[in-house]
Structures are given as C-alpha cells and as structure tokens.
C-alpha cells in the first residue's frame, strides 16, 4: 500500500491556508506566459479556474463537450450557495461552516480542506456580486439568505430557484472575457477521451471533435479537470443526460487514484419515477423544506383510500398524518441532512405507507406555512380578520415569490398544482461525494493533474450539505487552484512547450481509436441506452443505492461483470467514427460507467460501516440510524486501477485535531 501524502501544511487550522498561500512558490508573470494549462469542463469549477488562470497570464486551453460552456450542469443547481458572512448576526462564522460541513459529511472529510473551503466562501459572494450576479435582496438592498438542511443558521445566498444558473453565467462571463482577450482558447464540442502522461507527469489530453469525429491531441504543462460527478452511473438521476465519468475515469486508468466511490448522495426531494420510459429525474430544491412539511398517512387504511382516489391528500385530517421527520428529529425537523431525510422516506415507503400510484413517494406539503404567511400578511395589512380564502391567497403570493419557478416546474412535469395539493417526492441520486483523490493542492496522484469541484473527493466526506456544491466548485476554481497550481508549475518554468508529437501521445491516440473502432464493429442487437438503464436501474440502484448489504453487493458484482461482457459483445452503435455521432459518444461513456460501477461496489463492500450517503444494512443502530466505525474506517479509500474491474486499495488515515468525532444527531 502506498502512503498517501495529503500535503496538509502545519500549524493551527485557521492559519494553515493563509500562511501556506503566502509562502508557496510563485510563477513570475513573464514565465506564466510560457506555461500552457489545459482545463477540461466549464461548470462552476472549470469555468472559474480557466478564467482565473487566464487572468493570471497562463496560456489556457479549455474544453467542453457541450456546444457552449454555459450548458454545463452547474446551471441546474437551484437552491443556493453557502457562505459564512454572518450578515444575519445569527451566530455564523467560518468555524461554524467548517464544523457543520465536517459533521454533515459524517466525519469522513479532511479537516484542512474543509476549513479552507469555509474561509473562501465569503470571497465567493463578493466575487459573484462584483460580476453582476443578481442575488436576492432584502428591502434595504442587502443580500438575502435562507436556511438549508443540517444547519441552524441562515447562510445560503440565492437567486430565486436558479442560483446555479446565475453563478454559472457569472463564471461563463468571466471565461468569455478571457476568451475575447486571447488568454483562453475555447474548444466547444470537444470531449476528452484520454489523458496523456509523459515521464510520470500529466502533459495533455486526447479529445474527440464531436462535430466531425476527428481525434485531436492537445499538449500542456499541466491538466486541470473540472468534469463533475458520476451520478449518471445510476442511469436515473438528477444529473443532466450528458454528465459522465469518462474524463475522471480515463485519468484514473492512467494512474490517478479514485477515492470513496461508494459515497453517493441521494437527494430526498425529487419528483418520483412515473414509468419505465423515464430518462431522468428532476430535483425539487432542498430550499422547499424551509416551508414544506413531509408526511405520509399514519394508517394503512388511509393509504389505500388515497391510492384509490377516494380521498384527496389535502383533505386528510391532521390527526391522520405522520409528519415523520418532525416526529423523529424534533431539533432539525424537516431540515435534517439529505441522507437522513432520504432514508427516512425509504423506511416509511418500505413499511407500505408510501403514496402515489407506485407507493414510492411521500408528501411535501405547503399548506401550513402558506396559511402562516397569509396571516402574517393579513396582520401587516391591518386586516387580521380577513377571510380564510383571502389569507390563503396572500399566503400563496408569498410562497410563489419564494418558489414560483419550482412550483411551475413541478406542475409542468406532473400535471398537478402544488398550491392546491401536496407535492409528491421521492429520493433520487443527485451528487457524488467520491471522486479523484487529491491532496491539499488539489493535485491527484499523477503530478501535474489537478481535479476540482465534484470531480474530486475532498470536501464533503460521506455526505454533502445543501448549497455546498456551488461553494466548493467556485472556491476550487477562483480561490484555490490559481495558487496551488504554482506548487507544480514553479518547477516547470524551464520546461519548453510540450510537443504532442511524441510516443505517449501516439499511444494514447491509438488506444482511443481502437476503442472507437471496437465499439462500432460489434454491431450487436442492443442499444447503448438499454445497457445503461439495466446497469443503473436494475443493478446499481437496486443493490448499491440507498441501502446496501454484503450479499446484494456481491450479487451486483456478478451482474455488472456479466452485463459488461454482454455490452462488449452485443451493443449496437450506429453510424461512423468520423461524423457527428451522439450514440457513439454515449457508448464511450457507458463503457466507462461499467468499470466505475465495479469499483463503487468494491468500495461499498470494503466499508463495513454506515456513514453519510453510504448505508450498510448490517451496520445500523437499533433505531435504524447509520452506525459509523471510527476505529477502523476513519480513512479515505483511494483505489488504484489494476485493470477493468480490478483495483488496489490505498488508505489515507483521517486525523481530526479540531473536531471531536461524535455520532451525528439531529434529534
């Protein structure tokens, strides 16, 4: 086993980053111009990194498989972004954000990285405001905030239900400016299909031009990946259709360790599955749990009546409802962290009390708070005796101002009006905490290869808190990598421009071409889509989803192998290599998902404890809560590629010097 050096700088927690930043090696401006950096991905992490590195003077080439950098899936984040501004004077601080994130992550993240994230959070808000991001404002013109799960302060900044869109457009505008200044060369519709490693250092990528299928080589002194997570291994997730693991996986195959792949976040509030034609699941923002109360009927008799349509949910009497989150977790109520809320929904549905046609959903009900808001408006209007209808109307107006676009989206998809009847929700795969292993510099185990945002594993432990993904993506891109990349590039100032005309590039390019040739030559009888669905829905969600156990995981392992064999014998990929071919793009991505799936299962088998998003049936308290095993499992599991379906485990022991390891309690 290799000793993994996290390179966490010495000194007290709160001083590490400040001191390190002030003493790390720098690259002089005249030398930056001679150094090339490749950035793959244009989400919050990639776009902010490319823009900032371009501003600093590096020669940046930036790649996305989309037709425009603005399409990256960060755009879909709804609820908000956390920052320890303490504008509300409600007791927030950098330390509290750090602590909440460590605790929310179930004590499986690296203290120093998380503290740095909390420190950077305040700068992010300032940066985005300066870019003209239209955050929500209070009457006095100050920035508005709201609360998210797992937290008792109000530190989430937002722009209606489209915070990700507005932040991404901010990063995209910064990137566009650098493109216009000639500091960044932008390659749209280019998909990274391999990493090129020369003499042990990441020196370039092989990319496919998706318009004409041409395989192209790009060389640089360093490569930065901001390519997102791997939730689409489950086929049905809240990820966009194009989200994939391929860039990270290809880096993994070239020597970058993959950390904690079993940590997947299941988001409690998604629109439930309605049929087997379904292509994706849609998230309803966690912010809804500020005002939505989660419930199922207390008794089976009522469940039956609801399913038969004899009773409407809005007419079920209070005493027949079980607001189970408020009942089990009185301290946090409906705002418990995502993993806790998801499992609770699973339990009540497993008991048979789930509602809707499939029995796999619970209600998210806004009636109570609509009336509360309405009464508040009535008082402020000086009409405390207004009719109930009027109060309800005023309440609806308040709710609409807060969540209007989410309510509309829900109605478009389900055909039901959530102002009148409770929403139906169910957990779905949303985010992946695991990712490429990185040290404090965000450098992977391949020197010169960096990973940012969801693509790395570093900040969220076993469970991410709401509104922290945007924070991490932008912290890494704007405020961490611009400094830490210098630790590698300072030693490269004498390295001449890297030539793509050398053996390592030849080899990587040939391997990519062979893979494409192979996929096109099979000409089997099953579509890529059908393999992906079976892998994701029938195997991964079933056996490696919300709850896992050793038997199921071993079954899954066999099934994945069998299906992978079939894929390589029986997949049908239409069209040719040298043309615009979306089916071929999908086939390459699904092929990598097959290999990833096996390592996820291996990791889930290895981790004989329950923590955060990883829940093993065998390791639960008598009350059904996750039971961690800090003695044996307080480590990061970093897997080294040893061939498809094979990997060697390396451990990074997690040391907690500032936080006492405790059983998470939200009761």
């Amino acid at each position: 086993m290799r000793k993994l050096d996290s390179k966490v700088p010495p000194g007290p927690l709160a001083e590490k980053w400040v001191k390190y930043r002030s003493t790390m090696p720098l690259v002089a401006p005249n030398n930056k111009r001679r150094l090339d950096v490749i950035v793959v991905g244009t989400g919050l992490a990639g776009a902010s990194a490319a823009a900032t590195l371009g501003e600093l003077g590096y020669n940046v080439s930036c790649f996305t498989f989309h037709d425009s950098p603005r399409r990256a899936h960060s755009i879909a984040a709804q609820g908000g972004i956390n920052a320890a501004k303490n504008y509300r004077n409600d007791g927030d601080s950098v330390y509290r954000l750090f602590y909440d994130t460590i605790k929310g992550g179930d004590y499986r993240s690296r203290e120093a990285n998380v503290h740095r994230l909390a420190e950077a959070s305040t700068d992010i808000i300032d940066q985005c405001v300066a870019q003209g991001v239209p955050f929500a404002r209070e009457y006095g013109g100050e920035l508005s905030t709201r609360s998210f799960g797992g937290v008792q302060v109000s530190r989430t900044f937002y722009a209606r239900g489209q915070t990700g869109q507005q932040l991404l457009l901010g990063a995209y505008s910064a990137l566009s400016r650098q493109i216009s200044l000639g500091n960044v060369s932008m390659y749209n519709r280019h998909e990274m299909l391999d990493l090129v490693v020369v003499d042990g250092k990441a020196r370039g990528i092989i990319a496919r031009n998706l318009l004409n299928g041409k395989i192209e080589r790009y060389a640089a002194h360093a490569v930065v990946l901001g390519t997102g997570g791997y939730g689409n291994v489950y086929y049905l997730s809240t990820n966009a259709m194009g989200c994939n693991v391929s860039a990270a996986w290809r880096a993994h195959r070239r020597g970058a360790y993959f950390a904690n792949p079993c940590y997947c976040q299941i988001h409690p509030t998604c629109i439930p599955v309605s049929g087997d034609y379904q292509s994706k699941l849609t998230l309803m923002s966690e912010s809804l749990r500020n005002d939505g109360r989660v419930w199922v009927p207390k008794e089976m008799a009522m469940v039956e009546k609801l399913r038969k349509g004899e009773v409407k949910p809005e007419n079920v009497a209070e005493e027949d409802r079980d607001y189970y989150l408020e009942r089990i977790y009185p301290a946090f109520g409906n705002l418990v962290p995502r993993d806790v809320a998801s499992r609770a929904a699973k339990y009540v549905c497993d008991e048979g009390r789930g509602v809707g046609p499939t029995g796999l959903s619970v209600y998210l009900d806004f009636a109570t708070n609509t009336m509360r808001y309405g009464r508040s408006v009535a008082i402020s209007k000086g009409q405390p005796d207004a009719s109930e209808a009027k109060i309800r109307q005023w309440g609806k107006e308040v709710v609409s101002a807060k969540y209007g676009n989410l309510f509309e989206m829900y109605e478009k998809i389900t055909g039901e009006n959530p102002y009148e009847t409770p929403m139906r929700i169910y957990p779905a795969i949303h985010y992946t905490m695991g990712g490429l292993w990185v040290d404090y510099n965000l450098e992977t185990t391949i020197p010169g290869l960096f990973a940012l945002g969801e693509c790395n594993f570093s900040d969220h432990g076993a469970n991410r808190l709401g509104a922290s993904a945007l924070m991490q993506g932008l912290a890494d891109g704007y405020f961490v990598i611009p400094y830490t990349i210098g630790t590698f590039l300072a030693d490269e100032i004498r390295t001449p421009r890297i030539s793509p005309e050398q053996a390592a590039f030849d080899q990587a390019e040939n391997e990519v071409k062979d893979r494409i040739e192979k996929l096109l030559s099979i000409q089997g009888n099953r579509s890529v889509e059908s393999f992906h669905r079976e892998l994701g829905v029938d195997i991964m969600w079933e056996y490696c989803g919300m709850a896992r156990n050793a038997d199921g995981l071993k079954t899954a392992q066999q099934k994945v192998r069998k299906l992978r064999d079939e894929f390589w014998k029986n997949v049908f990929v239409p069209g040719a290599a040298n043309e615009y071919n979306p089916e071929l793009e999908k086939a390459l991505r699904v092929a990598d998902f097959f290999e990833l799936a096996e390592v996820m299962i291996m990791d889930a088998l290895d981790r004989k404890e329950s923590c955060g998003g990883h829940f093993r049936d065998e390791y639960a308290t008598s009350e059904g809560e996750a039971q961690r095993n800090d003695k044996e499992y307080a480590y990061v599991a970093a897997w080294e590629f040893k061939g498809p379906g094979q990997a060697e485990l390396h451990k990074e022991e997690l040391t907690f010097e500032n936080v006492e390891l405790k059983t998470r309690s939200y009761k």
């Binding site: 902010s48 900032t52 501003e55 037709d67 425009s68 603005r70 399409r71 899936h73 755009i75 879909a76 700068d123 300032d126 940066q127 985005c128 405001v129 300066a130 870019q131 003209g132 239209p134 929500a136 404002r137 009457y139 006095g140 100050e142 920035l143 209606r160 489209q162 869109q165 505008s173 910064a174 566009s176 400016r177 493109i179 216009s180 932008m186 749209n188 966009a240 259709m241 194009g242 309605s274 049929g275 034609y277 379904q278 292509s279 994706k280 849609t282 509309e408 989206m409 478009k412 998809i413 055909g415 704007y478 405020f479 579509s527 889509e529 059908s530 049908f572 239409p574 615009y580 089916e583």
Partner: protein
C-alpha cells in the same frame, strides 16, 4: 390518471450535414401521455436503433428547462405549443391520439444545421465574448453588501439574466434577429450597478458583433417574446435601443434609468 397511450405520426427533418440537402421523413410512434417530448423522441430513436437505422440527432442535456441545449421547432413553434416551456419540459399530455407532429430544426442563417435537428449556436457565445461581462478579475472585490441594490432593481436584472441562450427568439423571428438574446444581457448588466461603468462600450460592441454574425434586424413583431421559454420581455429590446442611442450620441447614463 391513466397511462394513456397515444399514436402519433412524426414528420421529422433529416439532414446528414450542413452541406447536404435535408427533407422530412415520416415515422409512426406510440407514446404515453406522461412522457416528455424528448422521451417520446427517445422512443423513436430506440425504434430506429432496433431497425439498425440512423437515430434522429437532437440536442438536449439537463431536461429540466435550464441548460438551453434543447431546441426544435414543433408544429411551427420553437419549443412547441406551451407558453413559457422548453421542449424538454413539454409533456405529451398536451397532444392527442392520432396527432401529426412536424419537427424541424431552428432555421436561421446564423445557426447553420449540424445534423438533423442540431444547429450551431456558437454565434451567441461570440456575442457574449464581445462584451457580455463586467470586467472584473478574481479577488480584491468589495464586500457583497457594499452596494445596496433595491429589490426591484435586482429583480429586473434577474428577469433579464434568466435567459437560457436557447435561440428560440431567433427561430421565432421572421428576420432571424437576435435582439432579444442580446438585449437581455445588455439589460441585465446595465441594470446592476456593477455593470454601469462599461455600459456604453458594452452595448456598442455587442450590437456590432450581433450584426456581424448575420442575424436579422428587429421589426417589432414580438414573436421572440411570445415564444421565449423563459418569457424574457421585449422591453429589454427597448432598453437596449435606448442604451445604444445613448452610447452612439455620447449621452450620459440617464438613458438607463
């Protein structure tokens, strides 16, 4: 709600590449009313795959109405018949058994066809690159609360910034004008105090780039606003015109107010 099946005739524009002529092909598809429009096209493509035929190329990604990747002109209307709805959020419950649906790509000189229903919208990126930003580098920015912004101002900025860059406005316009797209960004940044400083140069540069890309002129038809899936207001065009005139004639910032 029953899972009603509906049988549809689809007339889909097929075009191998920009250089080759395209034509409509007719297909029969059985869909169900809970599907989204794109899931219905998935069914068609699975059908074509099983017949070892070339699937229909169309762009899509988030399938929740925010990334702006999906497009399509459905029965003559960009993103189909529903107000304020992207194609990916359009559901089949709005169609009836036996319907015939015509599906075409966006048609505009500045959006050349890539394949079938996929067009190249990179002209939009170049318009943003010409000035759709605040020239601020990372770091050293003032505190977020240093400049209070009235709720209405932030809301106006947001309403303009909600544009998803899908190009429906161009496809809807008989002149294939990009005025709504360009004006939305001009208005967003001219509204937020952070964008005031560069407002004049920004509008000149962006309009010049827009014209250079081959988009048509605006003749106040209003189809852009009517078809915009995010309901971006045509008032933005009026504001851009005011900004432009102010910039050309060297007036001061009064025009923005």
């Amino acid at each position: 709600m029953a899972h009603d099946e509906i049988r549809l005739t689809l007339n889909v524009w097929r075009q191998k590449s920009a250089g080759q002529a395209g034509k409509f092909e007719s297909y029969q598809v059985t869909a169900n009313t809970h599907m989204s429009f794109l899931e219905m096209l998935d069914v068609l493509n699975e059908q074509l795959n099983s017949q070892k035929k070339d699937p229909v190329a169309f762009e899509h990604d988030c399938r929740e109405g925010i990334c702006g990747a999906c497009s399509l002109v459905i029965n003559g209307r960009p993103h189909g018949p529903m107000q304020g709805t992207t194609t990916c959020q359009l559901h089949m419950r709005h169609f009836d058994d036996g319907d015939t649906i015509w599906i075409e790509p966006y048609r505009a000189k500045a959006f050349p066809v890539v394949k079938d229903l996929v067009v190249d919208r990179s002209a939009f990126d170049r318009i943003i690159q010409s000035g759709g930003y605040v020239s601020v580098n990372t770091g050293g920015t003032p505190d977020g609360n240093a400049i209070p912004i009235e709720q209405e101002v932030a809301a106006k900025g947001f309403n303009a910034a909600a544009c998803i860059g899908c190009g429906a406005c161009v496809a809807a316009c008989p002149n294939a004008s990009a005025m709504l797209f360009t004006s939305a960004k001009v208005t967003h940044l001219a509204t937020m105090p952070q964008g005031h400083v560069e407002a004049q140069q920004r509008v000149l540069n962006m309009v010049s780039q827009m014209d250079g890309e081959g988009f048509g002129l605006c003749s106040n038809i209003g189809a852009c606003e009517a078809e915009c899936p995010k309901e971006i207001s045509i008032e933005n065009i009026a504001q851009m015109n005011r900004e432009y005139i102010a910039a050309v004639f060297g007036s001061n910032r009064q025009a923005a107010k």
